[in-house]
Symmetry: C2
Subunit: 235 residues, 2 copies
């Protein structure tokens, strides 16, 4: 039943908020959905964030409600037609999902009822096994790095290739993921570049968007995948 | 009694391991110290890391021993003449400091006995209030983000200015620190660029090295400081 649209980034350079993925969102939600429940927990100003998201969804024909405007977050998830979790800080987002007791509730709604789940950036990270491969700064301490576990692997959003001209000595993204894979039982990590989207329908996963993804599996050489690649083997 | 040498990065572009700060390390340790205790927990291969560090310290006249080679980490800290904590992954480092029960022990040795503490990158992060402002990927879950607390502020090592030509939409470093400061009671964050060093002697803190630092205080505009600036007001 699982239906997911996992987007690398909300805004692509040179275009507006969600512009690069509105077509995919519209196809994904179709005309069966009227109202989307929005989770703005990854940013500090939830009202402002909700009004930005509402504008984008209204343009493609959907109503949007902020979960923080509801009396109960759990009840809001139980009744949602579809969910959109926006980007920002992944630690703040995951901590708030735990604080509001909706990690398990979202999992159940996606798996039992096929509630469509759209995530962007941090919202994509929390859909995976864990937030161990986020790029964000750990500005708050969540009770766990385990996430909603809607897919059995991790994602690195905003994936970046090493810059051969850089004089910066901090670890490259690939090096950081390699350090994660020094641990046994660490799951595969799909690096999705800005502009890249992973679309999951039940047991079928397909790459969408305009950029390639790079798959890192512990103990193996990374492999590149192009848009429309079948990624179902990861599920 | 506190004596700290907090280095932004172990290797500066175009030079070898610790080359850019060997002079400061030699002045800091002087000829009173014979042997340095090295903490290689931030990297996976501790033996390899220790041999790299040993080579650099030997060149300036010090013996170096890896803490992982000792029967008891707590006992090794208790007996150390001086401590050097190397860079790598800050989450792995802090988790291991907790696992080995040496967070409090290091604090006591520095405050009560004036044991010289040298940190580089992740080793600098763990000397501060917390690792909330590390750049590293959260590849393991430590029991807390609270660190050794040898200074009453946080540091962002490898601090980078925004690149005006970048098309990448991930948050800039300044934006990430600003998100940290959305929380009340978040301490100041000193962004030390690669090549920058903070030297603390008791209640006196001085900027060293070849690059500037940028200080972020909640609710205020960031301020730039040049090498040799007196930073004692932060203590």
């Amino acid at each position: 039943m699982r239906r997911l649209l996992l987007i690398s980034n909300s805004t692509l350079h040179g275009s507006g908020y969600l512009d690069h993925c509105k077509k995919q969102i519209k196809e994904f939600l179709s005309d069966k959905v009227k109202t989307v429940l929005f989770v703005p927990y990854a940013l500090h100003d939830r009202d402002d964030y909700t009004s930005t998201a509402r504008k984008a969804y209204n343009e493609i024909g959907y109503q949007l409600e902020g979960i923080h405007e509801k009396p109960s977050a759990v009840e809001a998830v139980r009744q949602a037609e579809a969910l959109f979790i926006g980007g920002g800080n992944t630690f703040r987002l995951l901590k708030t999902l735990y604080d509001e007791n909706i990690v398990d509730e979202i999992y159940k709604r996606v798996y039992n009822d096929g509630m469509p789940y759209i995530g962007s950036s941090a919202g994509t990270n929390v859909a995976t096994v864990s937030i161990n491969t986020t790029n964000d700064m750990p500005i708050v301490f969540p009770p766990s790095f385990k996430a909603i576990n809607l897919v059995p692997f991790n994602i690195n959003a905003h994936y970046q290739d090493p810059d051969p001209n850089s004089k910066h000595m901090g670890e490259t993204r690939a090096k950081r993921i390699e350090q994660y894979h020094e641990y046994e039982d660490s799951p595969p990590v799909l690096g999705i570049r800005e502009g890249c989207i992973l679309h999951v329908e039940g047991d079928k996963a397909t790459l969408r968007g305009v950029t390639d993804a790079r798959l890192f599996v512990r103990g193996k050489e990374p492999v590149e995948y192009k848009p429309d690649a079948d990624m179902s083997f990861l599920l």
